[in-house]
């Protein structure tokens, strides 16, 4: 890649830059800051699009009473059951059970606090339907 060809397509990087290795007029490699590249932006937006789609599906299910609010926060934190289980140090099958609204409603405070701590929210927020 030539130094002049280093793309400057602002997008996912916001105001930040990344470094591209490019060749200058004399054929020497130099480090050139780039504000982004359109293909990389497109791929990144695509990944977030899928995440948002999944999140809206979960919100629907939570509002319909099929899943507990915990499912919403899990999805929002880009986690799956296995990962969330590791963070709260509760076994996977129990976390899975906690996604059921009827079970979630009866959870003791100390378990709710564990979840709230991971998501960095209060216990009240955790119980609210999004």
């Amino acid at each position: 890649m030539n130094k002049k060809e280093v793309p400057q397509d602002t997008g996912v990087l916001d105001h930040w830059h990344n470094i591209q290795y490019a060749v200058d007029e004399n054929g020497r490699y130099t480090l050139v800051p780039s504000s982004g590249w359109e293909p990389a932006n497109i791929a990144n937006y695509q990944a977030w699009g899928i995440i948002e789609e999944r999140l809206s599906q979960v919100i629907e299910k939570v509002s319909a009473g099929e899943l507990s609010p915990l499912a919403y926060f899990m999805e929002k934190g880009l986690m799956d059951i296995a990962l969330l289980a590791k963070y709260v140090r509760i076994s996977r099958w129990r976390v899975k059970r906690h996604l059921r609204p009827d079970i979630f409603r009866c959870l003791p405070l100390n378990i709710l606090e564990k979840y709230a701590k991971v998501f960095n929210i209060s216990v009240e927020e955790l119980q609210k339907i999004p």
Partner: protein
């Protein structure tokens, strides 16, 4: 129990890849001026792996980087550098150890989960646990951080740093920290560069396990042809987008990695005084550009600007091309180093 402020006189330098950036930064601080590209080459950073049976969020694992930490290990071994490397169970101990080393005036490298680092642009905060950064001081309740992929140093609160150091999941960092303990007075750059090149050509040309190296590039190229038939158009687009992200996003860059390697070959030709390597650097640049063409065309498909089965055939051809070019160039590298 707040510790007093401390600021080590560490010069932030932005790099393309976090692992080589941290390494180059730490070594430069200790007086061994070695560029990111040289670290990348000596550490044999060039790689390709396609593991269709390992799924990450339902998508096949495609990687352009060797296992996290491999570059560290190889560079320190090949240059004879002593790197103190520690893991922790308890967050308090981990932060205590960090503070102790900082108080001695030594910058410290950390492994961290990107999801928990608040200073990153929100679009990059995935659960990726093999990010590397340098801590070079303390200010109030925050830490001064030189993150090699960012424009300038940042401050990160103690609480967020603890979370990032103890991120869970794949490649969990477990509080990993490392700092330079000793650098030999005389480093044998010559031998290290040769070893790095030999290693990379062997790993890519004659891998000990399948699914990596040139073979994997061709294998993936063959698979891509059948994606639209096998997966349907929507899912193929997802696969493609995933691959482009692995290739071009910060710190993972595939096309970018080929260009860093080209820069390394240029540096190496200076050190070894070998004109052949300079020519090979030019070839490597072309390979990097070809990979970028792949991303460019792939993104057009993702956006729906290029359709039909033929577009996947074109992608497959580009990929086969990358494979052939890399094979040829790596063979010449092997010849030049034997």
């Amino acid at each position: 129990m707040l510790n007093k402020d401390i600021k080590i006189n560490f010069a932030h330098q932005q790099s393309a890849h976090c692992e080589t950036g941290v390494l180059s930064g730490l070594l430069s601080y200790h007086g061994l001026n070695i560029s990111e590209a040289l670290c990348f080459g000596i550490g044999s950073g060039l790689f390709f792996g396609y593991f269709p049976f390992i799924k990450v969020h339902g998508l096949p694992l495609i990687t352009f980087r060797s296992t996290p930490g491999a570059i560290f290990k190889k560079v320190t071994q090949r240059l004879g550098i002593t790197l103190e490397h520690r893991k922790f169970r308890d967050p308090e101990n981990a932060m205590g150890a960090l503070d102790t080393v900082l108080d001695q005036g030594i910058p410290v490298g950390l492994r961290a989960g990107m999801f928990w680092l608040p200073y990153f642009p929100s679009h990059f905060r995935f659960h990726f646990n093999a990010h590397n950064l340098i801590v070079y001081g303390r200010e109030g309740s925050g830490y001064l951080i030189s993150d090699p992929v960012l424009d300038e140093p940042v401050i990160c609160s103690r609480r967020d740093l603890v979370r990032a150091r103890f991120a869970e999941g794949l490649l969990a960092p477990k509080g990993t920290m490392y700092y330079v303990k000793g650098i030999p007075s005389q480093v044998d750059l010559w031998q290290a560069i040769l070893k790095g090149m030999r290693d990379v050509s062997q790993a890519m040309l004659t891998p000990t396990v399948p699914f990596i190296g040139i073979w994997a590039i061709h294998h993936l190229a063959d698979r891509i042809r059948s994606w639209p038939k096998k997966l349907g158009h929507e899912k193929s687009k997802l696969y493609l987008g995933h691959m482009i992200r692995m290739q071009e996003e910060i710190g993972t860059g595939g096309g970018g990695f080929r260009l860093i390697y080209a820069a390394f070959l240029q540096d190496a030709s200076g050190v070894l005084n070998d004109k052949r390597l300079h020519d090979l650097s030019g070839k490597m640049t072309l390979i990097g550009d070809r990979w970028r063409e792949f991303a460019l065309y792939g993104a057009r498909i993702c956006k729906g600007r290029a359709n039909g089965e033929n577009s996947y055939n074109i992608l497959s051809d580009i990929l086969h091309d990358c494979g052939h070019m890399e094979k040829e160039t790596l063979r010449e590298i092997r010849k030049a180093t034997s």
